[in-house]
């Protein structure tokens, strides 16, 4: 009697183990997320070289909800959309503004963050707003492929536009007074001003409001629906607030003091 029950139990356990092993044996396809790890505090690396930041945590939580292992692909900003189009990455989570032009090439998820274009100026600049920069002899620095670049090319026809690969190069030019202004987002310009207080000043009021979204290939509407679903539930569960607390608290306080704000 005991022997039979024992045998039955063993068989049961063995069957259970093998079926779950069968399930586990089929690995989930990794979720490859492209971002440029040069945009603190959203996309950056810690001292050991590991990706970290707002977007990294967002990607991690998204991947977990989809049950897929996360792979982060560090790609230069202007290379993100081509990488998405050629299928090298599945998603772009890189604080990318959803513009009409870009939407012609790729799909965007629902918006998850509001930001705006503003100015980092050289100390000697007397400009009071973006309109003051649209003059001959003015040099405006932009980062290649960003909305600042697009704005400068289309709206600042009289100024000379200097296009740089990296944010740091553009900031260097402004701090060395080789360029009059750098068009970028509020958080970065604030931080860059903090680090270069003797050589720069800022106009942090955004002259163009923008929203960020996650980029998805036009061929992948299923993934787009999944991402939108995630964003909705993440917001209601307070996930974005937690990220804001973790990475943007100090800036939030400072901006509130200055009268600006950004929204998650």
């Amino acid at each position: 009697m005991q022997f039979n029950r024992r045998a039955l139990l063993n068989t049961f356990i063995a069957t259970l183990a093998s079926t779950s092993a069968a399930f586990a044996a089929e690995p989930a396809k990794p979720l490859i997320v492209g971002m440029e790890l040069a945009y603190p505090p959203f996309e950056m690396t810690d001292t050991s070289g590991k990706p970290t930041g707002f977007s990294v945590d967002l990607a991690t939580d998204l991947a977990r909800s989809l049950g897929r292992p996360l792979v982060i692909q560090n790609t230069s900003f202007d290379g993100l959309i081509p990488a998405l189009k050629t299928g090298k990455i599945d998603l772009v989570i890189s604080s990318m503004t959803a513009t009409e032009e870009r939407a012609k090439s790729i799909n965007f998820s629902d918006r998850y963050f509001s930001s705006g274009l503003c100015l980092l100026l050289k100390k000697a600049s007397t400009a009071k707003g973006i309109a003051d920069l649209n003059q001959a002899g003015v040099k405006v620095a932009v980062k290649k492929g960003t909305t600042g670049h697009i704005y400068a090319m289309s709206q600042l026809k009289n100024a000379q536009v200097l296009v740089f690969d990296k944010e740091s190069a553009a900031v260097l030019e402004v701090s060395q007074a080789k360029a009059d202004a750098f068009i970028y987002d509020q958080m970065s310009n604030y931080r860059n001003w903090q680090r270069n207080q003797e050589t720069t000043r800022t106009l942090l009021e955004p002259f163009q409001k923008e929203s960020w979204a996650i980029g998805i290939s036009k061929d992948n509407s299923a993934l787009k629906d999944q991402v939108n679903q995630f964003i909705k539930s993440y917001r209601t569960s307070g996930g974005f607030d937690k990220l804001g607390d973790r990475y943007l608290k100090e800036m939030n306080v400072e901006f509130k003091r200055l009268g600006y704000s950004f929204f998650l």
Binding site: E101, A141, H149, L162, V163, K178
Partner: protein, 256 residues
Amino acid sequence: MLMQKRGQPVTLAAQLLSWCLVGLLMAAVFSFAFSQLKYGWNWAAIWEYRQKFINGWLVTVAISAAALLLSLLIGLLTALAQRSSVLPLRYLAVLYVEAVRGTPLLVQILIFFYVVASAFGLNNRYVAGALTLSLFAGAYLSEMIRAGIESIRGSQRESARAIGLTQLQTYRYVIYPQVVRQLIPPLTGQFASIIKDSSLLSIIAVGEFTLNAQEVNAFTYSTLESYLPLAVGYLLLTLPISLVSRILERRFHFAT
């Protein structure tokens, strides 16, 4: 038919047939590669930006031409300085050559523009960029020129002396004509390098060919449609140089 028998000249038919075969092979390889890409070609987008390509190409030509001329001058002066009997001059030349040949061009561009040029009040990045390229190529050229001069055997200088040529005349009629002929292959190689290296100037926002193509890519997200014309544009500059070099080499070929 497609083999060249040793010592026999190659017939025109054989040349044409062989080039056709190579062309077909390349076409096959590239068609296969591109057919594997799931890529939506969008040539219309970059056609809109064709002026940017043209402008960038012209800037590249201008900077490369200026750099070539200037680097020739710098190379010549440096080669002479290295053979000079004035010691500080010689050491300065050696220091310059070693420093430039031992560091990457990218680093030189950044240091020159952000440190040296600023110190001297040179703010025009196009001029600074051309200067950096000239100094870079000049160091390599000076070594080539120096090797060329030293390869002229002492016996020729003796002979020149014996027929009563002055130092200057010896350089002008005996040494330099030979050095120039010897230099044609490496010189054209250097020119092609200058043209290609000029693409690095994009790092200081010089609006040359490569940067302009990258900008178009940034606006239109058509990577291949931007970069293929880029490659063709550079080839348009470097191939003729290569061709001229081969022709000149054959014309001036003589045994020493």
